[in-house]
Amino acid sequence: MRRQILKGLAASAIALAALPALAQETVKVGLILPMTGQQASTGRQLEAGVKAYMAQHGNKVAGKTVEVIIKDDTGVADISKRLAQELVVNDKVSVLGGFGLTPIAMAVGPVATQAKVPAVIMTAATSVIVEQSPYFVRVGRTMPQMTFPIADWAAKNGIKSAVTLVSDYAPGIDAEKFFKERFEAAGGKVLDALRAPLASPDFAAFLQKAKDLKPDALFLFVPSGQGATLMKQVIDRDFAGAKIRVIATGDVTDDDLLNDMGDAVLGMVTSHDYSADHDSAENKAFVEIFKKVNNNLRPNMMAVAAYDGMDVIYRALNATKGDANGQKLVDAMKGQKWMSPRGPMEIDAATREAIPPMFIRKVERKNGELYNVEFEATGPIKDPTHK
C-alpha cells in the first residue's frame, strides 16, 4: 500500500507532463480515511479491506490498471475537503472513496459535484448524505437500516418497554429516533431516551438511570470502535441480574473489539449487515485473504464496506469497458447487484443508496473466539428517509 502511495506521489508530480496514453491506462482511486486520531481504528479496517480486495482481484480491470492513493484526514472535516480537491486536481483521480464520519463525507459533496467525480461512501451512516451530491454512492449502510431490524426483533420477542442510550451526536440521535419510531409502531414503549456525550468516559449515571427505569430492554448505540468501554460498564452494572435484556446495533459488538469483551457478552442480540462469522463461500474467502494480508486481523463491518466499495468501482469500470468518465461511472454503479461477503448487496438505482442484507445476531463462542452468530435474516431494507 505504501509503495502505491509513493507511486501515486511520483505519478502526481508528473501528472500534467505525462503522456496522455499513459494517463488513460491507469485509473486512480483516491481514498480519504481517518488513519490517525479518534477514528484511527476505522481507517485501519478500511485500508485493510481495500488491501484484501486488491490482493484477491489484482489491480487490472477492463484493461486498466487501478491505482489506490490513500490520504489521512485525521478525522477533521475541513481537511477532507482539501484532500478531495487535491486528489481531483493533482492526482486526477477518477473515483473518490472512504469517509469515516458524516461531516467528512458532506464536506466533500461540493467537490464531487463540481469535478463530476463519483465518491463512494464506505462508512458514514447518516441517511441524508447521498442527497448532497449526485455523485455520492453509498456501499455501507444507514442508521435506519441498522436500527429497524433490532426494533422489530425486540417487539416480536416479548420486549414491551425499552430505554435507549446513544452517543450524543447525529448518528446516535438518528439511532434513537428510528428505534423509537419502529418499536412504538409495533406496540412497544420507549420509557426514556438517554444521550451520553461523545467524549464521555464514564457511563455510570446513564446506565444506572436505565436500570432504575426497569425496562424490558436497554438499546445501545455508540460509534463503531467505541463499544469496548461501554460494554465493560454495561457488564459491571449487571443488567442480566435485573432481568433487563441488552440489545444494540452491531457497532457495539464490533468484530474488531468483540473478542476482548469476555464471556459476559455471550447471548447479546444485535442487528447488522456483517459478521465475520457470516456463513457463505464469499465470506470465507474474504476472511481468509483478509487475515492473510493483514497480519491476522479480524475484518469488521468497515473492512467489508471498503471491500465492497472497491468491488463497486471494479464493476462500474467493467460496465463502462474501462471508461473512467465520472458520469458514466456513477450511472454504472446505480442498480449494481452482487454477492458480497455480507450477503446479497444492491445499490438503489434511484437514490444511489446501499441496500444491504440485515441480520439478527447473537454473541456466541466459536472455536475459542467470540463471534456475532447470525440466526435470523430480516432481508434487505431500503432506507425509508429517501423519497
Partner: protein, 285 residues
C-alpha cells in the same frame, strides 16, 4: 441515590489517582508535563498485555504498572525532562505535547488503534448490596485503594524527612542544595513516583474504561480540570476537587441528563472565576 454517590466517588477517585502525578510535578516542581497521560497509558497497556497475552493476574498488573511507569518516568526525567526545568512553561508544553505525539504513534504501532480492555478477575466482578443500594465491587475496590494511597501520600509529604526535603527543594532549590539536600535526586524520585502513580491509575482505569492510543490527549483535559479546580499546591485540594467533579458529573448526568455534557466545564469555569487559585488553596500562597 447511594449508588450514584458511590459511582461518583469511584469515578472521582480514579481521576485523582490519574491526575495526582501531574499535580506533584506542576505544583511541587513547577513543571507542566502534558505527557502525563502517556505514563498512565503505559501502565494501562502493560496491564492489558500482561493479562491478555500472558494470563498474569490483575493483582500483579497493578504494582507492575506502577513500577513500569515509574522506571519509564525516571529514565525520561534523567535524559530529557531534566533539561527543561529551567525553560519557559510554553517550551514545556511544546516539548511534552511532542512526547504525547510520539507516544501515541508508538502505541499505535505496537498495540494497534482499536480500543483494548481487560476482563476483571471474578473476585472484583459483580455487585453487592449495601444499605439497600447495589454497588459494583470494583468501584469499592477503587475507592479503598485510592483512599489508602491518598492517606499514604499525604503522610509521606507532611510527616517524613523526604517530604520536608522535597518541600525545601521546591521552596528554594539553591538554599536546599546549600543545606546538603540532593535536590536533583529528590526531583528524580518525585517525578518517578508521580509517573508511577499515573501508571497505577492507568492500570486501575482499565477496569472501568478501555485503552486506545489517543488516551493521553483525551484525558489531558480532565487532569487539568482537577488540578485547576483543586489548586496544585496541596494533595488534599485535587483530592476533594476530584471527588466534587466525580460526584457532580455522575449525579448531574443522572438527574439532569440534558445538560450532562456541560456540568464539569461549567463547574470549572465558575470555580475559577470565583477563586482563581483553585477551590482548596489557602490564599496565603
Amino acid at each position: 441515590m447511594l449508588t450514584i454517590l458511590f459511582d461518583g466517588v469511584a469515578y472521582g477517585m480514579l481521576l485523582f489517582v490519574l491526575a495526582i502525578g501531574l499535580c506533584v510535578t506542576l505544583g511541587l516542581m513547577n513543571f507542566i508535563n502534558l505527557a502525563h497521560g502517556a505514563f498512565a497509558m503505559a501502565g494501562g497497556y502493560l496491564t492489558i498485555v500482561m493479562m491478555n497475552r500472558y494470563g498474569i493476574s490483575f493483582y500483579w498488573g497493578l504494582p507492575a504498572a506502577f513500577v513500569f511507569s515509574a522506571l519509564l518516568g525516571v529514565v525520561l526525567e534523567r535524559t530529557l525532562y531534566v533539561h527543561l526545568y529551567t525553560k519557559s512553561h510554553l517550551d514545556q508544553v511544546l516539548f511534552s505535547i511532542g512526547l504525547v505525539f510520539m507516544a501515541t504513534a508508538v502505541v499505535d504501532y505496537f498495540m494497534g488503534a482499536n480500543q483494548q480492555t481487560i476482563n476483571l478477575p471474578p473476585s472484583l466482578e459483580g455487585r453487592v448490596n449495601f444499605l439497600g443500594a447495589s454497588i459494583g465491587v470494583y468501584r469499592i475496590f477503587t475507592i479503598i485503594l485510592c483512599g489508602l494511597l491518598t492517606v499514604g501520600l499525604q503522610f509521606v509529604l507532611s510527616k517524613t524527612r523526604f517530604g520536608s526535603r522535597l518541600r525545601a527543594a521546591v521552596d528554594d532549590g539553591r538554599v536546599a542544595r546549600g543545606m546538603g539536600i540532593d535536590v536533583t535526586r529528590i526531583f528524580a524520585v518525585t517525578f518517578a513516583v508521580g509517573s508511577g502513580l499515573a501508571g497505577l491509575g492507568g492500570a486501575l482505569s482499565t477496569g472501568i474504561i478501555s485503552m486506545d492510543p489517543t488516551f493521553p490527549l483525551k484525558y489531558m483535559i480532565y487532569f487539568l480540570i482537577v488540578i485547576s479546580v483543586g489548586g496544585s499546591t496541596t494533595i488534599t485540594g485535587p483530592f476533594f476537587a476530584s471527588l466534587l467533579l466525580g460526584v457532580a458529573d455522575v449525579a448531574g448526568k443522572y438527574y439532569v441528563p440534558a445538560v450532562g455534557g456541560f456540568i464539569i466545564y461549567t463547574i470549572m469555569v465558575v470555580v475559577l472565576i470565583l477563586r482563581p487559585q483553585g477551590l482548596f488553596t489557602r490564599a496565603s500562597r
